[in-house]
Subunit: 179 residues, 2 copies
């Protein structure tokens, strides 16, 4: 397949309290690699021993790489633990490197909005990454609580709004669906 | 990999005017097959000669099948053309068959909400499909304009709300991203 670069890569944001943010980014990457583009997903906060189903299958796909930097648990402490700050900073450094090589057409910064909300990393640094990315790279930022500065800097923003959720049925976390 | 069925499959709906509905369904399927589940995506309205990137890669994936029944063009006529009604009815018949075999853990009915909105098929028939599906099957309905009866019948509903879109930049339909 002939590899065509995107003429202009945009910055997309998927935020909101509804389901489907990371899934939408994964689906986009799937579509892109279908046309011979290359994708990389860098996960903030997620990681540790917690295994997501998508990682099992991405390993088998051509042109789709991932790396997780978090501890895979919810972060509640304010101020955050030094360890969580360190990992998020490391993820951002790695993301900057991956974006700036220009080798990946689609770069997903998964849950980066949450890392910003928790002040693990600085909004200014992410804005700088967005503004200085190679022209053909499509950036996809996911996670609840996208700061308004990020929304301003992005080209395309979708809010996933929870209309209905089966909390009452006690269904929250099913292998194969929620992770 | 040992195949575990879902204990209880839900009905999920992704609707709204924002980007990411079909992508979210694709990402969910990717996650599910990562855990050894099987997925099938039945596309209403989409199809014809128009090729979506995701179809190129799904062909290469294990346990993920797709079939498209539409003509791959926007339908504006009201009342709709006989040909579009015929294809949508065929898609629904096929969907019923696939759901009821119970062989697929995740069944995506892509753009079915639009087919309902355009009155190509009847809401009652889709409600019946939802209510009589095998317990372990997860149904995922996508498309703008989900009728309120479908939202009532579903367990989990997410609205993708367009917050910002680069129409002004003249970017609407990029290979590798939008299709």
């Amino acid at each position: 397949m002939t590899k065509e670069r995107l003429e202009k890569g945009l910055t997309q944001v998927y935020t909101g309290n509804g389901k489907g943010k990371t899934s939408a980014a994964l689906g986009l990457a799937l579509r892109a690699i279908g046309w011979g583009l290359k994708a990389h997903m860098i996960q903030f906060i997620k990681g540790g021993n917690f295994k997501h189903g998508e990682l099992q299958i991405i390993k088998q796909l051509p042109d789709f790489e991932t790396r997780a930097f978090g501890r895979g648990r919810y972060i509640k402490e304010q101020p955050p633990l030094e360890e969580d700050v360190k990992l998020a900073k490391e993820a951002l450094r790695f993301a900057r490197k991956i974006v700036n090589t220009g080798d990946y057409d689609i770069v997903i910064l998964d849950e980066i909005n949450v890392a910003l909300h928790l002040k693990l990393i600085k909004t200014d640094e992410v804005i700088e990454l967005i503004e200085n990315k190679p022209r053909h790279v499509e950036l996809i930022l996911t996670g609840r609580y996208a700061p308004s500065e990020i929304i301003d800097a992005a080209d395309l923003v979708t809010e996933m709004r929870e209309v209905k959720h089966p909390y009452a049925q006690g269904i929250l976390d099913r292998k194969g669906i929620e992770y």
